[in-house]
């Protein structure tokens, strides 16, 4: 119980000391008040879930790390949304009828983006060529100018990441 109280007290003090600082920094960096507010509050929401909060030595370093991760997601979401709209502009028949399924598509795109995130650009290409376009490893190797063994390694990495994301 004591540690719970200590945790809450620590969170309250970090919030009081660093929330205005973080939001100001984000406003300068993002040049957008609403985005800055959103990222700042999401950052603190995630900080609240951090383990060993009461032992945190450098709250600002932690806040910056979390805020960057959230900003990255925001940027990627917007870019994917833009590309998705681009596709719909060319192929309007792909617009899903319900708001819910459109939301799910965007969520799925973000999830796929997160799976691909840690991979090299060749690995991402190999994975999509293989899984979406049904290309053989030999063809992919030719396209990417690497060996078929390398192609297998790339795809295996991507499959590992799919599993890890699915488990998370």
């Amino acid at each position: 119980m004591d540690s719970h109280l200590a945790r809450n007290a620590r969170f309250a003090s970090i919030y009081k000391d660093d929330h205005p600082w973080l939001e100001r920094r984000l406003r300068d960096g993002l040049r957008n008040r609403e985005d800055a507010q959103d990222v700042a509050s999401e950052t603190f929401t995630q900080l609240l879930q951090a383990p060993a909060l009461h032992q945190l030595l450098e709250p600002r370093a932690m806040l910056v790390t979390i805020a960057r991760r959230i900003t990255w997601r925001l940027w990627r979401r917007r870019e994917l949304e833009r590309a998705w709209l681009d596709m719909l502009r060319i192929q309007p028949e792909l617009v899903e009828p319900s708001a819910e399924s459109r939301y799910q598509t965007l969520q799925a795109l973000q999830a796929l983006d997160a799976v691909l995130e840690g991979l090299s650009s060749k690995a991402r290409m190999a994975f999509l060529y293989s899984q979406l376009d049904g290309m053989t490893h030999v063809d992919i190797a030719g396209r990417l100018d690497v060996s078929p063994t390398m192609v297998r390694k790339y795809i295996a990495q991507a499959l590992q990441r799919c599993c890890a994301a699915f488990d998370a």
């Binding site: 960096g29 940027w75 650009s121 999509l128 499959l159 994301a165």
Partner: protein
């Protein structure tokens, strides 16, 4: 630490998946795979888990959205180092530039960033040219000027401008006439003010006050009297229409159309609104007359919905789709 059986089974499942989908699997591979699957429930579990993981990553998305040449595929594959660097600078530098060029191009015609004068979505701007003429830019407009060596040139790369010549500028002897260049030709105002608009592969010239000449790239020429307007491309000047000064209504934040295709109204609204408005082919041909506010595009869309046989569907704030309303018999 040694691998747990689950990890081993997962590695094996991935190896099988690679073997079977690589394009070189033999019948013997197929049989060996079946034997592996039958050998242990943990193998089956690992295989199903892999299929489910792959399904959730890829198959929740319509494959046509991810077509190899499409924007989404490009976005997923794009190298992100530059954005990463920007992200790392974020929160370190006090006045760091916002990294989202991606977000920005919804608001600005980025392809023209090198232009001298640029307006974003929903912006208008008035500038004084070195010879005393006044140039007003519509939203999403890019224009450059060249007044060196006695030249007087404006190059319109996108959007629309109204140029009002300085009093008496037309009478200055010796100085070369003001020339407003577009991709399809040049507009030469004689006096007064002129509107020039640059559409995808055509340009429009309206002599708002005074006279203005059009010279196309292909050498066609026409002199417009006050109030007249014409569209032209590189080789052809469309019939001249009288009473076209309403084409400059955007200067007052309005669009005025007299029996014109709906698409023209939507194009104008799109310049004042981030995101996309998509119009079906049938709806784009509807003829519209009226006066619509540009600075309040929501109100303009509502006005269209009430006066035209159209349906309006909104997909979030960024996409509006317009189609012809189907009448119930």
């Amino acid at each position: 630490m040694s691998a747990t059986p689950a990890t081993e089974a997962r590695e094996a499942a991935i190896a099988w998946r690679l073997c079977l989908s690589g394009g070189a699997a033999t019948e013997a591979d197929q049989r060996a795979f079946e034997a592996w699957l039958a050998a242990s429930p943990s193998h089956q579990a690992a295989w199903h888990h892999l299929e489910a993981a792959l399904g959730s990553a890829l198959h929740a998305i319509d494959p046509r959205l991810l077509s190899a040449s499409g924007a989404l595929r490009r976005s997923l594959l794009r190298p992100q180092e530059a954005q990463r660097r920007r992200l790392n600078k974020l929160l370190l530098t006090a006045g760091g530039l916002f990294g989202g060029a991606v977000c920005l191009d919804r608001f600005l015609p980025l392809t023209h960033v090198a232009a001298d004068y640029l307006t974003g979505t929903g912006q208008r701007r008035t500038v004084a040219l070195p010879d005393g003429a006044i140039m007003e830019l519509d939203a999403r407009t890019a224009a450059s000027i060249d007044f060196s060596g006695g030249r007087r040139r404006v190059r319109l790369e996108a959007g629309a401008i109204v140029v009002r010549l300085a009093d008496g500028a037309d009478a200055v002897g010796g100085a070369s006439p003001l020339r407003i260049q577009t991709a399809q030709g040049a507009v030469l105002p004689r006096s007064g003010s002129v509107l020039v608009r640059c559409a995808e592969d055509r340009s429009q010239c309206v002599a708002l006050t005074g006279q203005a000449g059009i010279v196309t790239v292909g050498g066609q020429q026409r002199l417009l009297a006050e109030g007249e307007g014409a569209w032209f491309d590189a080789h052809r000047i469309d019939p001249v229409q009288a009473a076209q000064t309403h084409a400059a209504a955007w200067q007052e934040g309005r669009i005025e159309v007299h029996d014109e295709p709906l698409q023209r109204v939507i194009d104008a609204l799109a310049r004042y609104r981030p995101g996309w408005i998509r119009v079906s082919a049938a709806a784009s041909r509807l003829r519209v007359s009226g006066l619509f506010p540009l600075d309040d595009t929501e109100r303009a869309l509502e006005a269209l919905r009430h006066t035209q046989p159209i349906t309006l569907r909104r997909f979030g704030a960024w996409l509006v789709m317009i189609d012809v309303a189907t009448r119930q018999a």
